[in-house]
Every structure is written in C-alpha cells, then in structure tokens.
Amino acid sequence: MSGVRGSIWRQVPLLVWLVVLWLFLWDQVSVLSIVTGLVLALLVTRVFYLPPVELPDRVNPLGVLLFIVRFIVDLVRASFQVAWMAIDPRRVPTSSIIAVQLSTKSDLSLTLTALAVSLVPGSLIVEADRQDDILYLHALGTETPEDVEQVRAGVLAVEERIVRAIGSRDDVRRVNLSRAERSLPPLITGRRQSAWESRHPMVPAEQYTPEGGYPE
C-alpha cells in the first residue's frame, strides 16, 4: 500500500460518510440521490482537500458502545451539575486551569479526547499541545486540590475508553505503559497486540511523527 493507491483507499471512509450525510439530508435513498451524493463527495474532497488522518488499525465494537453510553451518562450528569452551579445563589464557583499529559501520540486520539472532554460540561479545552500531547483545560467548580486531581484522572479515563474503543495498537501500547507506571493493570492484552508489539519496536515520544509512525 503506497502512493496513489494508498491515498485513494484512505479516502473511501470519508467518501462513504459524505454520501451517507447527503442521503440523510435528502431523507430518501434513490439512485439519483446516491449518484448526486457520490459526485458531490468527489467534488468536495477535491476542492476542500484535507490532510489524511491516520485511521486506527483496530476497532472494538463493545468498546465503542461502552464509550458512547458512558459519554451520554457523563454529559447528562455534568449538565445538571453545571446548571445547578449556575443557579446556586450561595457561591461563585472556583475554577482551575489544569494540564493533562495524555499517554497516546496519535492525532485521532488527541482530537477525540479533546472533543469528548470539551463536550462534557464543566471542562473546556483552552489549549492543546500536539507536539507533547498535553491538554490544558479550564475546569469549573474545583474547590480543592483533590478536585483538580479528580478532573485529571477523569480526562485520562476518557482517553483510555477511547483507546479501548478505536485506539491504534501503538495507542494501546502507550496507554498500557502509562498505566504500568501508575501500577495499574494493562488496559488491553492479547495475542494480536503482543504479536504487533514484537514486530514494531517502540518509537520514542520525541521521535514520533503522525505521518510516518509505522510503515507496514
């Protein structure tokens, strides 16, 4: 997989998604809507070119489901908490700006973690350091240093759920290592994971590049 062929196959998920989007907008599935959708999708991807995103080499459907359910629960619970903070007449909430060092290196995990954390009320991404994979977030209602640590652990838990769902093998290895440093059991183990790890030596964080992580 290299050159032109590789770049075309990489765009297939994006094209399919754009056609599905078009069908959703038209509320009907017909030959005409599919053909026009396909033409538009090709046109849009040619005119508004985006740098290709490294897609993960593994997907765990159960992990995806787990992440979505937990995300909705967090979203609803935190919404009511922030709503209560807004109308609670007794005090003005104290905030913090917290740096969270993520374990993974891939752009996709960083982006999804930032999105998920940002959507849950009470935390707002102020700055993201792509080079060192640090998220700086503004957290509402942190009254004590314990609250700050709780927010930090919460962000890492979100990252772990994302990695469990659609993290690449490299993401899994980095999360497992980071958990080992905190003397926690590895997130995912398995024959295929260890086989992959033995074939691909670890790239140090400083030398990691999103484009050329691991040539197949």
Partner: protein
Amino acid sequence: MTADIWFEVASSVCLLIGALLSLAAGIGLLRFPDALSRMHAATKPQIAGLAFILLAVALEQRNWATVSTLFLVMLFQMLTAPVAAHMIGRAAYRTRHLRRELLLTDELADVVDRASHDLATDPATRPK
C-alpha cells in the same frame, strides 16, 4: 390510543428538561464571573438542553425522515460547539479576560509566559 398519550407525556417531559437546562445556561451566562467560566454556560448545558429538545421532537414526530435530520443537527452541534468554545477560550486566556483570584491553579501560565518571553527576547528560539 394509549401509546400516543405516553409518547406525548415523554415528549413534554423532555421539552421541559431541555428548556430548564437552557434557562440555567442563560442564568450562568449572567452569573459566572469571567469569560472562561461563561463559556461553560454558553456551550455546555446547551448541548444536553438541545439533545432533550430534539428528543422531544423525535418522540412527537416518530418518523425516520425527521429523526435522520435531527441526528445531523445534534452531530454538527457536537462537532462545532467544542471548536468554538476552544477558540473563544484560547483568545480569552491570551487577552487575560479571566479573573485569576478565582482560579485555584493555573498550569498553563508558565508555558505561555515562557513562550511569549522566548518570542520577545530571542528570534532564534522562535518555533517554526
């Protein structure tokens, strides 16, 4: 049709919850002390508020054409709200529209100070 009544009730409850969350967001926008805290009110209870209101519409209409469109509304709201919040939050932080006396810690201050110091003093260390 008893089933219809239950859908109506569920829809009304969702609509009320959504409205209350949006009201709280409005109050938060007025009451929170600085720009960054206000971003929480402006972007966040709204997400769940919108979700509940869309759910109410879906329960009321109950056909795929509506649900697919509502799904798109929710999806793009969820994709764009964090980006908008991030851009405004970043600008607010850098232009110092925040009240530091209400912050417990600020782990970004050193990094930004160092970066702006580097930029101001030595062009050679300017990041490419």
